[in-house]
């Protein structure tokens, strides 16, 4: 069985304070502050170069927002972090992405284990056609995280509580997840993602299909979740990026134009392209 604490299924490595393997020579000091390091990352879809030599650090227990116009490469970069792009045959990724000091594109890395450490929430809520309980219990079951029914119950309850959904569904855990409202479905997907205790949660426009109230609940949840998880969010809403993130990275035509403290980016961006985009001067 795959050891969920290691990226590699069959060659155990020493684990660091995060419970994640530390690559040889990796600095534990860096691992404590920077959860993800991207160096010279380029992505091509056939002849189309979607990302051009991206260098970007993602701080742990912080929310980093990736913004930019459609086609700028922000979602492509997000999907590099849990190797979702591997599912696209024409996609080629070069460069280096390290999670807690470990190269996630290393030849020996088990992608399924990687995705146990890097959860993802998508644009449209996509609960399984199963009960609310089973949606959350699915990950812990397949990863063998619960030794008993009682432990599994506890994981489901804890995850639903952390996702701010437990009180709304505790009396109907046997109902289908798809019977919930859109906002509740999205929080169920977040509960499903955190049930396997990931280190990083990727969010690809998680509120674009939700009404303002449901959006506010997700944003409040993001603020609470960052205490435990490192969050990277792609959003088309400038106001959402400004509200929820600690750091913002602006992508344009496959290039990382500017990255910095969100407060600074939205008050005094350094690059004219960033200013033009966030202030609505280019589409």
């Amino acid at each position: 069985m795959v050891n969920p604490m290691n990226l590699q299924s069959h060659s155990p490595m020493p684990t660091g304070i995060t419970g994640f393997p530390i690559a040889a020579g990796a600095s534990t000091e860096v691992a404590q502050n920077i959860r993800i390091t991207a160096k010279d990352v380029s992505v091509s879809y056939g002849d189309l170069r979607a990302l051009k030599s991206i260098d970007l650090d993602i701080a742990e227990n912080r929310v980093t927002a990736l913004i930019g116009p459609s086609g700028c490469g922000k979602s492509t970069f997000l999907r590099c972090i849990n190797r979702m792009n591997d599912l696209i045959p024409s996609c080629q990724v070069s460069g280096e992405i390290k999670l807690s000091g470990h190269d996630i594109y290393g030849p020996e890395v088990d992608v399924e284990v990687l995705r146990r450490h890097v959860g993802m929430v998508f644009q449209k809520p996509n609960p399984f056609p199963k009960t609310i309980y089973d949606n959350v219990a699915y990950g812990p079951r397949i990863h063998g995280l619960a030794g008993s029914k009682g432990e599994l119950d506890a994981i489901v309850e804890k995850s639903l509580k952390r996702a701010g959904l437990f009180d709304e569904v505790k009396d109907r855990l046997d109902r289908l997840g798809t019977s919930l409202s859109g906002g509740q479905q999205q929080r169920l997907c977040i509960a499903r993602a955190i049930a396997i205790e990931p280190e990083v949660i990727l969010m690809d426009e998680p509120c674009s299909a939700l009404d303002p109230i449901a959006t506010a609940k997700i944003e409040e949840l993001i603020d609470e979740l960052k205490q435990r998880y490192t969050i990277v969010i792609v959003t088309h809403s400038m106001q959402q990026a400004a509200r929820v993130s600690d750091y913002t990275a602006y992508f344009h035509l496959g290039e990382l134009v500017e990255r910095g403290d969100t407060n600074r980016i939205f008050t005094s961006p350094q690059h004219a392209k960033t200013e033009a985009y966030i202030s609505g001067r280019i589409g």
Partner: protein, 226 residues
């Protein structure tokens, strides 16, 4: 960077904000100029007009604040747009205070007669007054043209105002020591000089706001600060 927003109504609202501030700045400068003229000429009727017209400046400030608030609510401005809207509240506040100082100076007209001490310092009074009038017109020009260099020049001009202010105070005190009968009127002139010096300070505040709007930095941070 493109000059225009995709939403053209946003451009129109920011242009209106600029125009309102420019208009208020012009009115504040005229109030200061008229206040000094009536003070030196003992023109009580003109002084009353200055006092009455202060309400127009107050109304301008209310209008700017309401307009800027609407921009916040409707547009959620960021970056330079955000700095402009935030600074607009402060600039309008400083211009309103300039109006208050002009009104205070005008109020003193009826308490200052045609006395020798006023004649002796009138030249210096006109000089310091012209300096602050120039500061107001320059800082409004810096705002409308987004000229950080001109804003810094206004900051420099305030040093000359402060120096002249000190000299005037010293001269007035010397006069009052030698001619105790002039103390009452001299005190009114001292307050008027202080009003003018404070107007210079408000022009300086506005210059700092303009510098922030243009550069995203505080004026005392220098070029290297982010």
């Amino acid at each position: 960077m493109p000059n225009h927003h995709i939403v053209q109504a946003f451009d129109a609202e920011l242009e209106t904000l600029d125009a309102l501030i420019a208009q208020m700045g012009f009115m504040a400068q005229k109030q200061q100029e008229k206040a000094l003229n009536c003070f030196l000429a003992h023109d009580k009727e003109a002084a009353k007009k200055v006092r009455d017209d202060d309400e127009k400046l107050d109304a301008c400030e209310r209008h700017i604040n309401a307009h800027a608030t609407q921009i916040f609510a409707r547009r959620q401005p960021v970056a330079a747009d955000l700095r402009t809207v935030v600074a607009s509240f402060k600039i309008a506040g400083d211009l309103e205070r300039i109006g208050d100082h002009a009104k205070n100076m005008a109020k003193r007209t009826k308490r200052v007669g045609d006395i020798p001490i006023l004649a002796e310092v009138s030249g210096s009074l006109r000089k310091i007054s012209r300096l602050v009038e120039t500061m107001i017109s320059d800082v409004i020009k810096a705002f409308t043209s987004r000229d950080a260099g001109l804003a810094l020049a206004v900051l420099d001009q305030d040093e000359a105002v402060d120096l002249l202010h000190k000299c005037l105070i010293s001269d007035l005190l010397s006069h009052m020591k030698t001619d105790t009968a002039s103390i009452a009127a001299g005190t009114e002139i001292l307050f008027a000089v202080k009003n003018i010096e404070r107007i210079g300070d408000h022009a300086t505040n506005i210059a700092e706001q303009v510098y922030y709007i243009v550069t995203g930095r505080q004026a005392d941070e220098g070029d290297g600060a982010a």
